[in-house]
C-alpha cells in the first residue's frame, strides 16, 4: 500500500523491540521466579540444573533455526535425539571407542534428517508431515528395542558429563552455527527462502540445495546434542528425548524466531530462547506447579507468543 510510505518511528520501535524482547523475557522471568519462588531459583544447584538441561536443547535449536528460517516445520527432534542416544549406547556396549560412539551419535541423527530433507525438498511432501512420520518411526524403534530393558552406557562415559565438555561443545557449536547462519550465504539464503522462495530463486539462490543443507546442519546438531544427552542420562529408555521437540520449538519462538521463517530469525535468539524455555519449566516447578500441568502451560505460552510474533511480522490477521 502506498500510504505506508513512511510509517515513521513505529516500525523502528518494533524493530528494536523485536531485538530486545527475548532478553527482556528472560530477565522478567528471572525476577518473577526469584521473587515468588522464595529465592530458590538463583541457587548454585538450581542454576546448574537449568544449564544442564539447556545445553542439549540449545545445541539442537542452533541447527533447527536453519530449517525454521526457510519456513520448514519440524517435530522430529525429540525422537531423533532418542534414536541417536540408543544407537550410540548400543555401539558403546559393543566396545567401540569414544570417537566411534560420537560418530554414531551424529550419523544416526543425520540419517533421519537427510531422509526428511530428501522427501520434503525433492519429493515435495510437506516437511511438517514428514517430520511427524519420522517422529513416530523413531519412537517406534525406541519402544521396540527398549521394551524389555533399559540400556546403560559404559561406565567411563559418565566422565564426560562435566562442565568443561558441555561448555566447550556448546560454545564451539554456537560459534560455528552463528557464522554459518549470520555471516555466510547458507544462513542468508535460508532466510531469503523463508521470506519469498520465488524472489530468492530469482536472486540466484538454489532453493533445493539450500533447504537440503539446512536439514544436514540440523541433523548434525541433533547428533551432537545426542552425545551430551547420552553422557548426562547414562541410559536409554522408551521415553528418551520425549517432548524435546516442543522445547526446541518453544526455544525458537521465545528467542524471537518467527515460525513463518524469514529474515527476523537470529542465532542469538536460539541461545536465549533455549535458556528461557528451561527457565520457564524450572521456575514453574519452583513455584510449586504440578509437573504434569507444565506441559499445558508451555502450550499456552507458545500459542500466545506465536500469535504476538505473527502480528509483529504483519503476516497475521492484523495487517
Amino acid at each position: 500500500m502506498e500510504t505506508k510510505k513512511n510509517q515513521g518511528q513505529t516500525s523502528t520501535l518494533s524493530t528494536v523491540l523485536n531485538k530486545i524482547i527475548p532478553f527482556l523475557g528472560l530477565v522478567v522471568m528471572i525476577f518473577v521466579f526469584q521473587a515468588f519462588g522464595h529465592g530458590k531459583l538463583l541457587t548454585q544447584g538450581n542454576l546448574k540444573s537449568i544449564l544442564n538441561q539447556s545445553v542439549y536443547v540449545a545445541i539442537m535449536a542452533f541447527g533447527a533455526i536453519f530449517v525454521y528460517s526457510h519456513g520448514g516445520m519440524d517435530l522430529s527432534y525429540g525422537s531423533v535425539i532418542g534414536f541417536s542416544v540408543l544407537c550410540a549406547i548400543l555401539t558403546g556396549r559393543a566396545g567401540a571407542p569414544l570417537p566411534v560412539i560420537i560418530l554414531v551419535n551424529i550419523v544416526s541423527a543425520l540419517a533421519w534428517f537427510v531422509l526428511n530433507g530428501l522427501v520434503s525438498v525433492y519429493l515435495k511432501v510437506s516437511p511438517f508431515i514428514v517430520s511427524l512420520c519420522i517422529m513416530y518411526m523413531c519412537r517406534g524403534i525406541l519402544n521396540t528395542v527398549c521394551a524389555k530393558e533399559k540400556y546403560s552406557v559404559p561406565v567411563y562415559i559418565y566422565n564426560y558429563d562435566n562442565w568443561t565438555v558441555k561448555m566447550v561443545v556448546l560454545i564451539v557449536t554456537f560459534i560455528v552455527c552463528y557464522l554459518l547462519f549470520e555471516k555466510t550465504w547458507i544462513g542468508k539464503a535460508n532466510k531469503a527462502i523463508g521470506g519469498n522462495p520465488l524472489a530468492a530463486q530469482q536472486a540466484g539462490v538454489n532453493v533445493e540445495k539450500t533447504r537440503m543443507i539446512a536439514y544436514i546442519i540440523s541433523g548434525i546438531t541433533v547428533g551432537i546434542g545426542g552425545f551430551i544427552l547420552m553422557c548426562r542420562a547414562g541410559s536409554v529408555a522408551t521415553s528418551t528425548g520425549q517432548g524435546l521437540e516442543m522445547n526446541v520449538i518453544t526455544a525458537l519462538v521465545l528467542g524471537g524466531v518467527p515460525l513463518s521463517g524469514g529474515s527476523r530469525a537470529k542465532m542469538i535468539g536460539a541461545l536465549v530462547g533455549s535458556i528461557s524455555v528451561i527457565l520457564l519449566r524450572n521456575g514453574l516447578i519452583i513455584l510449586g506447579v504440578n509437573e504434569r500441568v507444565i506441559e499445558g502451560i508451555q502450550g499456552i505460552v507458545l500459542l500466545v507468543i506465536v500469535f504476538l510474533t505473527y502480528v509483529k511480522n504483519k503476516d497475521g490477521i492484523w495487517q
Binding site: G195, A199, Q201, S263
Partner: protein, 498 residues
C-alpha cells in the same frame, strides 16, 4: 452535470506518523467517470478505501445519497451500492470460480440449508456473460485461470449487485488490452446508467481517454478538479508532481547503433504452447525491446532467457556459447532480471532493503566464505544513494516503500552486482512518472556504458521511445523486427501484434 451522489467533507487519514490525507473535500456526481490521479503516495488508494469501507477516516464526514455515510466494512458498503476492485489480488485460490463470485452471498442459492450449486453456476455464467466473458467455466477451480482472468472474475463479483458507485483501483495495470476493454465498456455502461465510476490508474493516456473529469491529489492534498475540456497531458503532469517536467522523458536521439559483439542469444527456443521457434541475439550496448499482447509469450521468454524456465527445445547461451542453465548461473555471468510481478517474485517484502539488495551479490561480498555487515552496508548505501531510494534507513522493510521505490530496490540489487546484461520485464509498471523518467535515464546511461538491455513491455510508447531494436511477438512467435527510427509509429507495431 448529474446530481451529487457522494460528498466527502474534509476527510483526514493518519496511519501512525504518516499523514495520508490532509482534508479532502470533493463531490462525486452521477453520470461521470471520475479519474483519481496522483503520484505514488498521494493518497488515491487511501481515499477510495475510505469511501468503500476498508477503513474509517481519522476525521471528516461523508454524505451518500443524502445521508451520512459511515460504512462498517467493505461488505456493508457493497450492500449499500459501493463496490471496489483493487490493485492487489482479491480472489481466493483453491475454490471454484462461482464460489469466488458469490463469496459471502451463498444464501442467494441456499434452500433448506444446502447450497444449490447448479443454480449458482448458472447465475455465475450469466453474470460473466453480461460483461462479455464467455470462456470461463464457473465450476472450474480458480487457479486454472490466469491473473488476468482472475481479475475479471473479481470485477464480476464487484458489480454483481449493480453498485451505484463503482471504484476501479489500478486494476487495469495487470490486464491486457482485451481485459482493459471489458473494464472500459463496463465503466461506460455505469456512466450511461447515471451511476458514478471512480477510476484510479497510473496510465495518463488511459485516464484521459476514459474519464469525464479528473481529481488530482498530491501528498494527501486535493489539488484541482479538471473537466474533460481541460485535459492536457503536460498540465496534468505538472499538477501531479507540482513542478514542470522537462520535455519528453525518453531518450531523444534516433541513433540505433550498438556494439557488434553478441552477449546473449536464444536459438530455436520452444516452450510447450507458449513459445515457438524463438531466436534472437542481444548485442553489447543495445536496448532490445520486445513487445506484444500480454499473452504473446514475451514474459515467458524473459524467464527462459534468465534460466528460470528451461526451454523444451533449443538453447539460450551467452556470447561465448556457454548455456544459461539456471538463474544462479546467469547471475554469476552478470545477468540481472526484473520480474513483471515485483511483489511476488522480485522482492522479499518482509526483509530489509539491505537484505534484498545484497542477495544476488553474496559471492561478490564473501571474504573467505564470510559476509560481513560492513561490506553489506557499503554496497546497500551505495545503491540507495545511486538510485535515490527514499527510505528511513537501509534496515527498513521493503514492504513499507512505495511502488517506485520498491522498483528502485530491484534495480539496485542488479546494479550492485555489477550486472552487464539486464532483462527487464515491464520495468515501469505501476510506478509514477517521476520514477519512470528516472528509470529511462538510467537505462540510457547503462546503454552508453556498454551494458545490454532486453526490455519486455506492453507499453508501445516506451518501446518506441527507448529501444534500438524492437521485436514484436504474437502467439509465441517473433513476427517482425523494427529498427530505431523517427518514423516508427505505434500503429505499425500494433498491426503485427494483433
Amino acid at each position: 452535470m448529474g446530481d451529487v451522489i457522494l460528498k466527502a467533507d474534509r476527510i483526514v487519514k493518519h496511519f501512525g506518523q504518516t499523514h495520508a490525507l490532509n482534508g479532502i473535500t470533493v463531490d462525486i456526481r452521477r453520470g461521470e467517470i471520475i479519474g483519481l490521479i496522483g503520484e505514488n503516495g498521494s493518497g488515491k488508494s487511501t481515499f477510495s478505501s475510505i469511501i468503500s469501507g476498508v477503513y474509517p477516516p481519522t476525521s471528516g464526514s461523508m454524505t451518500y445519497k443524502g445521508e451520512t455515510w459511515k460504512p462498517t466494512d467493505t461488505n456493508n458498503a457493497q450492500k449499500h451500492g459501493i463496490s471496489m476492485v483493487t490493485q492487489e489480488m482479491g480472489t481466493l485460490p483453491g475454490i471454484r470460480v462461482a464460489d469466488n463470485i458469490f463469496l459471502g452471498r451463498e444464501d442467494l442459492f441456499t434452500h433448506h440449508g444446502l447450497v444449490n450449486r447448479k443454480e449458482m453456476y448458472a447465475a455465475a455464467k450469466e453474470a460473466m456473460a453480461r460483461v462479455g466473458i464467455e470462456d470461463i467455466d464457473p465450476a472450474a477451480p480458480i487457479a486454472k485461470y490466469s491473473l488476468e482472468d482472475r481479475k475479471l472474475i473479481e470485477v464480476v463479483r464487484a458489480i454483481y449487485n449493480n453498485p451505484d458507485i463503482f471504484i476501479v483501483d489500478e486494476t487495469t495495470t495487470a490486464l491486457s488490452q482485451k481485459g482493459r476493454d471489458i473494464i472500459y465498456s463496463l465503466m461506460r455502461k455505469f456512466r450511461d446508467e447515471n451511476k458514478a465510476v471512480i477510476f484510479i490508474s497510473h496510465d495518463l493516456e488511459e485516464i484521459m481517454d476514459v474519464c469525464s473529469s479528473l481529481i488530482v491529489l498530491r501528498d494527501g492534498d486535493f489539488i484541482q478538479q479538471l473537466d474533460k475540456s481541460e485535459f492536457e497531458e503536460n498540465k496534468i503532469k505538472m499538477l501531479m508532481v507540482g513542478r514542470e517536467l522537462s520535455g519528453s522523458y525518453y531518450r531523444d536521439d534516433y541513433d540505433g547503433s550498438h556494439g557488434s559483439e553478441v552477449v546473449l542469444k536464444a536459438e530455436k527456443v520452444y516452450l510447450s504452447s507458449t513459445l515457438t521457434n524463438i531466436s534472437l541475439e542481444l548485442h553489447k550496448g543495445e536496448i532490445l525491446g520486445i513487445g506484444g499482447l500480454t499473452d504473446c509469450g514475451m514474459h515467458e521468454l524473459g524467464k527462459v532467457l534468465f534460466g528460470i524456465t528451461k526451454p523444451m527445445l533449443g538453447k539460450v547461451s551467452f556470447g561465448d556459447g556457454k548455456e544459461v542453465k539456471s538463474p544462479k548461473d546467469a547471475i554469476r555471468r552478470k545477468v540481472g532480471y526484473v520480474s513483471k510481478n515485483r511483489d511476488q517474485e522480485a522482492l522479499i517484502l518482509s526483509a530489509s532493503i539491505m537484505d534484498n539488495i545484497v542477495l544476488p551479490s553474496m559471492p561478490l561480498l564473501a571474504k573467505g566464505g564470510l559476509i560481513f555487515r560492513g561490506a553489506e552496508k557499503k554496497l546497500t548505501s551505495g545503491q540507495v544513494s545511486n538510485m535515490s531510494i527514499k527510505c528511513r534507513e537501509i534496515g527498513q522493510d521493503v514492504r513499507d516503500l512505495s511502488g517506485g521505490n520498491k522498483q528502485k530496490v530491484v534495480f539496485g540489487k542488479w546494479l550492485g552486482n555489477n550486472s552487464e546484461i539486464f532483462i527487464l520485464d515491464c520495468p515501469t509498471r505501476g510506478i509514477d512518472i517521476g520514477v519512470k523518467a528516472f528509470m529511462y535515464q538510467l537505462m540510457y546511461r547503462l546503454k552508453q556504458e556498454g551494458k545490454s538491455i532486453i526490455m519486455i513491455s506492453e507499453e508501445l510508447p516506451e518501446l518506441i521511445g527507448m529501444s534500438d531494436r524492437i521485436l514484436i511477438m504474437k502467439d509465441g512467435k517473433i513476427m517482425k523486427e523494427f529498427e530505431r527510427s523517427e518514423n516508427l509509429s505505434e500503429s505499425s507495431l500494433i498491426k503485427e501484434m494483433v
